[in-house]
Symmetry: C2
Subunit: 330 residues, 2 copies
DNA sequence: AATGAAAATGTAATCGATTACATTGATTTT
DNA sequence: AAAATCAATGTAATCGATTACATTTTCATT
C-alpha cells in the first residue's frame, strides 16, 4: 500500500536515505535511521519487489521445475534445494510441469522474462536444442533425470553402476530370468540403468532378451500393467529390476493379485528408496539415491553459476547404495 | 536480453506501438504490426515481466502455500488449482512451508511485496490475527485445513459429518472401544473431526474415553507411534479412526508388527483417500475428500476475489464419501 | 480544395525502487 | 583562518514496461 515516497515524507528525509536504511548500503546517522525505521513500522511499509528487482535486474529467486509433486522422490530433493537456497538468501518457487511440455514452456517463459535468476530442471521435456539455448541465456542445472551430451551442469548418481549392482544382487540370488521394467524416454538416467542391467546379465553369461523388458512412466500404474504382461510369458521371469520404487510396488501388487509370492516366486528390486519403500509389505529392496544431497548439490551449483563464480559445466555424481529388504530376500 | 526499445528501433516505430502490438490494446495497421512482430521474432524478445507487472500493479500470479509437497493429499488439490488457474490465465507457484511459520512468513512477505495477486493457504501456521490482517490487504482463500471464525473465504468438506459417518461405520461393525488418532492444532478441520467422533460415540451410548485418543501430525510416523501406545492399553481398542490416511497406514503397520491382524483384531479407518489407500495391503477404508474439486473451487473463489467480483466471504463445503475397504471389513 | 472525423502513431509521464553524482555541513589539517 | 577531508543527505537518472494525451496521416464529405 505505501511506497518508499510515503516513508520518506513521513520521516522527513529523501527516498535515497530510506533506501540506504533498508539496504544498509552506506552510512546513515543514527537518529535519521531511527526516524526512518519508525516511519517504516508505522506505515507497515514493504519494498515493492517488482520495483527493486527491476532496478537491480536480480530477483534472488529460483524456479524448480519438477514433473510431479505427487512423486515422493522429489519431495526430499526439494528439501535439500530449499535448505541451501535459504542459506544463501534465495527463495524458490516450485513449478509442477506434469511432464507437459506446454506447461513447462510457460514456466520457462517466466524465467526468460526475468522473474527468476535461474532454475533447477528435473526431468525436463524440452528438446536438447532448446535446453542448450536456454542454458546459454539463463543459469540452469539439471538434477537427476537429465538429457545427455549438453554443456549443462547436472547432478545425479552413477545410474549405470547402480543398476548393475542391483541386477548383480538378483543374479547372486540365483535368478537367471530377470525382467527389466523401465521407461523409454530421452533421459540419460533411464538409458544408463538399462545399460547397467545388460552389463550385469552379460557378465553372468545370461542372454539379454527384449521380451523380458517392459516400458512405462515411473508410475505405480505402469509398473502394475507391465508386470501383468510379463507374468504371461512362459517361462515367466523369477525376478524384476524396476527403475522406480513406484513401479516396483505396482509390479508386486500385480504379482500378488496372481497369487505369486514375493520374494519366493518373484524377487523385485526398485530404485530411489522413497519413504514408502520401507512401509510397503514386503519392504522393498532398492537403490538408495541421496535425494537430499542431490538437491543441495544442485542448488549450490546453480547459485555458483548465477553469481558468476562458475562458468564451466560440471557433472556431479553422488554416491548411491543398494538396500536389501524383503522383496528380494526372505 | 533485448528490450521493448530495441524492438521499437528495429521495427522503426515507437515503443508505444510495440506495446500495442503485444497487447492488442488498440488498432495498429497491418503492415506495422507485421514489422513489429518480425522484429520481436528476430530479437527473440520477451516483455520483462517485472516492468510490466510494476506498471500494471498486477502479476496474474498466485501463490499456493502448502505444508508439505510430500503429502500426496495435496498433489491432487494442486492439480485442480492449476487447471483453473490456467483456464483464467494465471500462473501458480507452489511454496513449501514445511509447517514452519518462519518459512511461511517469508512467502507471505513476497505476497505483500506485490509478487503475486493473491494466495491459497493450506494449513497455515499464522495466528488468527495475522491471517485476518493479511486478508484485509490481500486476496486469500483457505483450503482444507483452515482457521475458524475468520472473515476469510474457505473451502473444505463437512468434517464433522465425515468423521461421524466413519465412526458410525465402525460402531455398526460391532466395535465399542474405538480409538481416535488425531492432531492437536488450531485447524477447525481437526477439531470438527474429533467432534464427529464424539457425537457418534455418544449416540451409540459409548462413553468417550480420552485414554483412547492420541495426537500426532498427520504423518505415517506419528500414526505408527500412537498406535504402539494405544495397543498397550488394557483392554485395548478394537478399532481406530485416524484423521489422515498416512496415520492410518502407520497405525496398521504398527499393529502388524505386534502380530495383530487388521481388520480381524483391529479395524482401522483413515481420512483423505490418497492414492496409496487402495495400494496398501490391506486396502484402506477411508473418507474420500474431493481433492481435485477442492482445488478448483478454491482457485475459482480466489480469482473472483482478485478480480473484485466477490467481496464477501463465502464458506464452501463440498461433498465427501465414506469408502469401505479391507482395513475394516474382511 | 477545404473541412472534419477517424485511424495510426508518437511523446512523455508513470509504476517503485536503487544509485551515481552533487551538495551541504562538520571536522581536521595546515 | 583557509583548505582539505569526510560523513550525511539530497537530486535526478534509471530499470522496462504501459498508457493518457498529443500529433500526424488518411480519407470521406461537402
Amino acid at each position: 500500500m505505501s511506497t518508499i515516497d510515503d516513508v520518506a515524507q513521513r520521516a522527513g528525509v529523501s527516498v535515497a536515505t530510506v533506501s540506504r536504511v533498508i539496504n544498509g548500503s552506506s552510512r546513515v546517522s543514527h537518529e535519521t535511521a531511527a526516524k526512518v525505521r519508525q516511519a517504516i513500522a508505522e506505515l507497515d511499509y514493504r519494498p515493492n519487489l517488482l520495483g527493486r528487482n527491476l532496478r537491480r535486474t536480480k530477483s534472488e529467486r529460483v524456479l524448480v521445475l519438477l514433473p510431479n509433486i505427487a512423486n515422493p522422490f522429489y519431495a526430499e530433493i526439494v528439501k535439500g534445494i530449499e535448505d541451501i537456497a535459504s542459506k544463501y538468501g534465495y527463495s524458490i518457487m516450485l513449478c509442477n510441469t506434469d511432464s507437459d511440455l506446454e506447461r513447462e514452456m510457460k514456466y520457462v517463459g517466466m524465467l526468460k522474462s526475468y522473474l527468476a535468476d535461474g532454475a533447477i530442471l528435473m526431468a525436463s521435456e524440452m528438446t536438447n536444442e532448446n535446453l542448450a539455448e536456454l542454458s546459454r541465456e539463463i543459469p540452469i542445472v539439471q538434477c537427476c533425470e537429465y538429457k545427455a551430451g549438453l554443456p549443462i551442469t547436472h547432478v545425479s548418481i552413477d545410474n549405470e553402476m547402480a543398476a548393475y549392482k542391483a541386477v548383480n544382487h538378483l543374479i547372486g540370488l540365483g535368478h537367471r530370468r530377470i525382467a527389466f521394467i523401465g521407461a523409454r524416454n530421452q533421459f540419460l538416467s533411464s538409458v544408463l540403468r538399462k545399460e547397467g542391467y545388460i552389463r550385469a546379465l552379460k557378465e553372468a553369461g545370461i542372454d539379454f532378451d527384449p521380451a523380458y523388458c517392459g516400458y512405462g512412466d515411473y508410475s505405480y500404474k505402469s509398473g502394475f500393467r507391465i508386470m501383468k504382461q510379463l507374468l504371461n510369458l512362459d517361462p515367466r521371469p523369477t525376478a524384476a529390476f524396476c527403475i522406480s520404487d513406484l513401479m516396483a510396488i505396482g509390479a508386486i501388487r500385480s504379482a500378488m493379485e496372481e497369487n505369486i509370492r514375493v520374494p519366493e516366486d518373484l524377487a523385485v528390486c526398485g530404485f530411489d528408496n522413497i519413504y514408502f519403500a520401507r512401509v510397503f509389505k514386503p519392504t522393498l529392496t532398492t537403490v538408495s539415491q541421496p535425494m537430499y544431497d542431490l538437491g543441495c548439490t544442485a542448488m549450490e551449483a546453480l547459485i555458483s553459476i548465477i553469481e558468476g563464480k562458475n562458468t564451466g559445466t560440471t557433472h556431479y555424481s553422488l554416491e548411491h547404495e543398494l538396500i536389501i529388504r524383503e522383496s528380494t530376500v526372505k
